[in-house]
Symmetry: C2
Subunit: 303 residues, 2 copies
C-alpha cells in the first residue's frame, strides 16, 4: 500500500535553505531577517533519524505481527524436530563456509534452541526511549553500561516471545541465550523482568566475556553445541547465526550471503530472524550501496 | 546484539548549534564566520529520516532473511490447507470485529492466496531511490503517478516471492493481487517485470478504482472471497488483512489490536506480514506514543 506523508527531501530542502542563507549572510556582510531561526519563532525540528525505526519496531502493529509470526514458525519448526529428530544441528561447524555449509552433529545430545537477547527476545524500551530524549553529552558505551547495570525493569518481551519460550521448555528443549552483553547478572535480571527466564550464566546464558573476539558469537555457539543439539536459533542480526555473515564485504555482498543457494533455505527452517530497523549491521550503506544500479528510475525530464 | 554508531542526538545538537548561531547573528547585527556553512567548506548533511528504513529494507541481509522466512512459512501453511482443507477462509466477514472475528466460508470455492503488491511481493527500488535523491519540488502524488505509469522495470521481487508464488500456483492455488495502486496496467507491468505475473485485471488483480473508499481494501477482499476460498493473505500493512486495524485509535491501541486474543494466533497462520519500515501506517507516533510510560529509564542522575 502506498501513500504520501513526511518527505525526507522536504526536510533536506529546508536545511539547504538555512545553510545557503547563512552562507549568503557571511558573504554579503549584511544581516537580514532569517526565517524560522529567531528564538521567538518555531524552529524546524530535525526528525531524529532513529525515530522511524523506533516507531516501527516499538510502536507498530506490523512489527508486532512479524514478531509473532516468527515465533509461531519457530515453535512449529522445533516441535517437528523434536518429533522427527535429524542428525545435524543448525550450528555451522568450524571451518564451514556459506558456500559449503557443514553443521555440528546432534548425536547423543539434548535438544536446545539458542537466542540472542536484545531485540530478539526482549525490547530495550527504557534504553531506546532514553536514547531519543536523553542528554546528548554521554556516549553510547557509557549509557549502555548504565543500562546493563540497571534493574532491568524497563523492558518487555518481543511480541510472542514469552509464550514461545514456555512452549519450547514444555517440549523439553533447553532455552539458551548467547548475547554480546558484558554483564551476565544484568542480562539475567532483564530476562527475568521480561518473564523469559531462567537464564543461568555458563549453563543457559553466555555473555561476551565468555569467549570470542569483538561481536563474534561463534566461539560461544560452538561451546553450546558441544553439549546440546541446537535445533533452532533466533536473532535480529545475522551474526546471531554465524560470524561468516560479518566477514568484510559491502552491503550488496552481505545481502547476497543471505541469498546464497545453501543458505536461503535456512531462513524459517532452523534460523529465525526478528525485525530490528533501529540499530545494527543492517543499517549500513549509502544510496548507491542500497539500490542496485540497474534498478534506477526518475520521472521523465529528470536525471 | 548492541553497538554504538550514528547518534541521532548528535545530529540534533549540530542543528541546534546552527540555529542558535543564526539566531545570534540576526540579533547581534554582526556577521561572524559561520563554521561549516560557507559554500567552500563541506556542509553538514542531514541524515534523511527515511535512509535507515531503506538501508534496512532494500539493503540488509536481515530484511532479506525475514522476507524469505515469511514466504517459507506462507507456502508451508498453504500446502497444509490444500492437503487438509478447512471450512473457513481467512477473510473476515462484513460486520465481524477483531474481538469476535467471523470468517467467510470456503464451501464450493477454489483456493486462492491474496497479496498486496508494493513492498509485499515487489520492492519499488526505482521509486524509493528517486525519493531519496530526486528533486524536492515534486509532491508525492505526482511522483507516484509517474511511477505507476512507468515501464515498471525498476523493481525486484521481495526475496523469496517469485519462487513462493510459483509454488502456490503449482499447488493449484490462485494468486490474486489486491493493491491500492490506481493503474491496473501499471501494476500488471511491474508484476511482470518482477517475474510475479500473470495478473489479470478483474480476475487476479484488483486496484483502488475497483471499489472501496480511500485505502480500505475490504470491499475488494469480499468480492474476491465470493469466488475464491482465500487460504492465506500477505501484506506489509495491517490494512492488507482487514480495514478494522485502521479504525480511529492511537499507536498503542493499534498495536493492541494485533495482539488481541482472537487475532494474535493468525500471524503466521493464514495472515503473513512482510517488513516495511520505510513508509506506511506503521511509522506513526511521538515518543510518548511509542514507548509505554511504565517502561521508562534514564541513567542515574538524569531525569
Amino acid at each position: 500500500m502506498r501513500r504520501g506523508g513526511f518527505s525526507g527531501r522536504r526536510w533536506q530542502a529546508t536545511l539547504a535553505a538555512i545553510l545557503s542563507l547563512s552562507a549568503a549572510l557571511s558573504l554579503s556582510g549584511c544581516v537580514v531577517a532569517v526565517g524560522n531561526t529567531s528564538p521567538a519563532s518555531p524552529s524546524p525540528v530535525a526528525p531524529n533519524p532513529k525515530l522511524a525505526g523506533m516507531q516501527y519496531l516499538y510502536g507498530s502493529a506490523e512489527a508486532d505481527a512479524i514478531s509473532r509470526q516468527a515465533w509461531t514458525a519457530l515453535v512449529a519448526y522445533v516441535g517437528d524436530r523434536v518429533k522427527r529428530p535429524v542428525a545435524d544441528s543448525v550450528v555451522l561447524a568450524k571451518g564451514a563456509t556459506l558456500e559449503a555449509p557443514r553443521f555440528l552433529s546432534c548425536a547423543g545430545k539434548r535438544p536446545a534452541a539458542v537466542f540472542d537477547v536484545d531485540e530478539t527476545v526482549l525490547l530495550n524500551l527504557g534504553f531506546e526511549q532514553d536514547d531519543l530524549t536523553g542528554r546528548a553529552d554521554r556516549a553510547f558505551p557509557e549509557r549502555w553500561r548504565a543500562w546493563e547495570a540497571s534493574d532491568g525493569q524497563a523492558v518487555l518481551p518481543t511480541p510472542g516471545a514469552a509464550a514461545a519460550l514456555a512452549d519450547l521448555r514444555a517440549m523439553g528443549v533447553a532455552v539458551i541465550f548467547n548475547t554480546n552483553r558484558d554483564s551476565a547478572d544484568g542480562a539475567a535480571r532483564a530476562l527475568d523482568a521480561a518473564g523469559l527466564g531462567p537464564a543461568v550464566h555458563g549453563d543457559t546464558l553466555f555473555v561476551r566475556p565468555d569467549g570470542g573476539t569483538g561481536d563474534d558469537k561463534d566461539t560461544r555457539r560452538w561451546r553450546i553445541a558441544e553439549r546440546y543439539c541446537v535445533v533452532a536459533m533466533g536473532g535480529d542480526q545475522l551474526g546471531d547465526f554465524s560470524g561468516l555473515f560479518d566477514r568484510p564485504g559491502g552491503v550488496a555482498e552481505r545481502r547476497a550471503r543471505a541469498d546464497g543457494p545453501r543458505i536461503a533455505a535456512l531462513w524459517g527452517r532452523g534460523w529465525f530472524v526478528f525485525p530490528n530497523p533501529v540499530y545494527g549491521k543492517a543499517l549500513k550503506g549509502a544510496v548507491d550501496d542500497i539500490f542496485p544500479a540497474d534498478r534506477r528510475w526518475h520521472p521523465t525530464g529528470e536525471q
